[in-house]
Symmetry: C2
Subunit: 339 residues, 2 copies
């Protein structure tokens, strides 16, 4: 576990900006998961694509548990407990963010209704001050009467920038904007990186359980060997055989690690048998080593300071707990569980 | 909610002996439920008898949620988080206690193993002092070599009475006694009252959702009316028709509320048409009113002191949290989640 934290910090996660914490130390994840489980239809979970996939792939593990079926819902709780706007995920996790959006929508629909919602929303508008209140009303009208999406985005940004109104009022105004009730759990969006799919050394999905990864702490010698021996286009048996980048895992690496001119050189060289596979891999080996250098340096520094790493996690847990506790207060309040 | 707490206190739950608390205020219930969900096969929950029953009976409610399937497991967590030995339940809940036993057994089997278990157990024996250590060993041998159940019970009582050993050591010695690993979550037993099945006014299962209950705060006049109009043997249409107690809900009430002589009188009188149904009901009406009198008096006292009731709950939550937190520490420790 601590090795993993050190890997993150080494890879560049900045504890000054990011809150790094341990899920099991923040009880609110389990609490929100339990509460959401009461409104989440079983069918939604049974239809999650990763569910059947994993059950087939990892048959030796005992995956037919209640908790395994609910695992994507636990991820939803992980996201919603911090009311995240954007969730950085890989392509295979987009379906989980979509489930999260559905769960949030259902929760808001069921529990976001207050008997005096409109009145409270109008009062909240006034709290923003004359100028902002006027702006909010203008944007709201433009969205509700003409479906103006830019006005909707502008109104949301306006609400985000408000210092004079509390969270509950902001939730009301988010909901009032779109004509619904209070938005207690906002719907998150997936955030994909440019290279949203980084294959493993064999060209298949990268996964520790498939053994096709390069460890962050691999020595330059090991990295060199792993990349040199990674498979290429199986049809290119001899040096003089031309290859096809489209079926070669190395080409996928070039797309991530090489600029346009190196990519051109590799593609042409492969198709014309102008370069050999080892030659083709060299710029990638260089790029991976250049990338790993500073990571391993930072990793070594952190590994030498276990107290610092512990403190980062302790502070992260504390910060996470504060935000999560606030969400749970609002959730319990909306569900009338605040005795 | 507060009315329900007052009902309990009025009915005689003594806050000096019993810990009265609100489940949602003790996050450990949700945490243990989540952890146990990871080791509980879905099939165990799908086979719980109340699951299909309720889904059929209450079709209008949206019961096909993930949480509804896991509801008996939440009850298991409710029990196991306090490591309860006996669980006072009605007959229809015995299956849930049985599920709880299976979940506890599985948990202990999976996580109760320590690499140096035997060595630690032998050390723990020494901590009990020479005399008790000798006794424990004697009982353990008698149970393991001859299957002597009395020796097992005696050894357990001995362990319960030890002040010199901590909880972890006691768990080890419980497990060592029977030859397994550590018993982190002991298996509870159901505790049935003599009248484990108290029917509703219509002779069917008593349930608020079926509308066949007498509220604890019902006025004497209302109680009288409810009992007078409750159904009897449908075949006994006229006063002179003989009746059959075996199909009469009133007879079930006699079994709970009347002594042997009144029961004889009712049974004979019914079968011979010697008494009418109203006459037959009178001793029950008297008994219910006599039972409700002091309950309603206490209820009134508590209702007049909301602060007292709040304090009872607050102290109960505090006490519950302490015990639950201790269990969760051990559970996380066993699962290697104690970073």
């Amino acid at each position: 576990m601590w090795d993993m934290v050190i890997d993150w910090l080494a890879a560049g996660v900045n504890p000054g900006e990011a809150t790094v914490f341990i899920q099991s130390r923040v009880a609110e994840h389990a609490e929100l998961h339990l509460l959401l489980s009461m409104i989440t239809p079983r069918g939604w979970l049974e239809r999650v694509p990763t569910y059947k996939d994993q059950q087939e792939k990892l048959k030796e593990k005992d995956l037919s548990t209640y908790g395994f079926l609910g695992y994507p819902l636990l991820q939803s709780a992980d996201i919603l407990v911090y009311r995240a706007g954007l969730v950085p995920v890989g392509e295979d996790q987009v379906a989980h963010v979509e489930l999260t959006r559905e769960v949030a929508r259902r929760f808001n629909h069921l529990y976001g209704r207050e008997p005096d919602f409109e009145e409270k929303a109008e009062q909240a508008i006034k709290k923003m001050g004359k100028k902002n209140a006027k702006l909010y009303k203008k944007y709201r009208r433009a969205f509700q009467e003409q479906g103006d999406d830019e006005a909707l985005a502008a109104a949301r940004a306006l609400l985000d920038s408000q210092q004079n109104i509390g969270i509950a009022d902001r939730d009301r105004l988010f909901g009032y904007l779109e004509g619904g009730g209070m938005v207690i759990l906002p719907e998150p969006q997936p955030l994909l990186t440019k290279a949203s799919k980084m294959p493993g050394l064999d060209g298949h999905k990268m996964s520790k359980s498939y053994g096709n990864t390069i460890p962050l702490d691999a020595s330059p010698k090991k990295v060199d060997k792993m990349l040199r021996t990674m498979p290429t286009d199986p049809a290119r048996v001899r040096r003089k055989d031309p290859g096809n980048p489209d079926v070669c895992p190395v080409w996928q690496f070039h797309q991530v690690y090489s600029d346009a001119s190196v990519q051109d050189w590799a593609r042409e060289g492969c198709r014309s048998a102008g370069i050999g596979c080892i030659e083709c891999k060299q710029p990638i080996i260089d790029a991976v080593l250049a990338e790993l250098g500073p990571i391993q340096e930072r990793g070594k520094e952190y590994a030498e300071q276990p107290d610092l790493v512990h403190n980062i996690i302790n502070e992260g847990c504390e910060r996470a707990r504060e935000v999560a506790a606030e969400t749970l207060d609002e959730v319990r309040n909306a569900m009338s569980l605040d005795y």
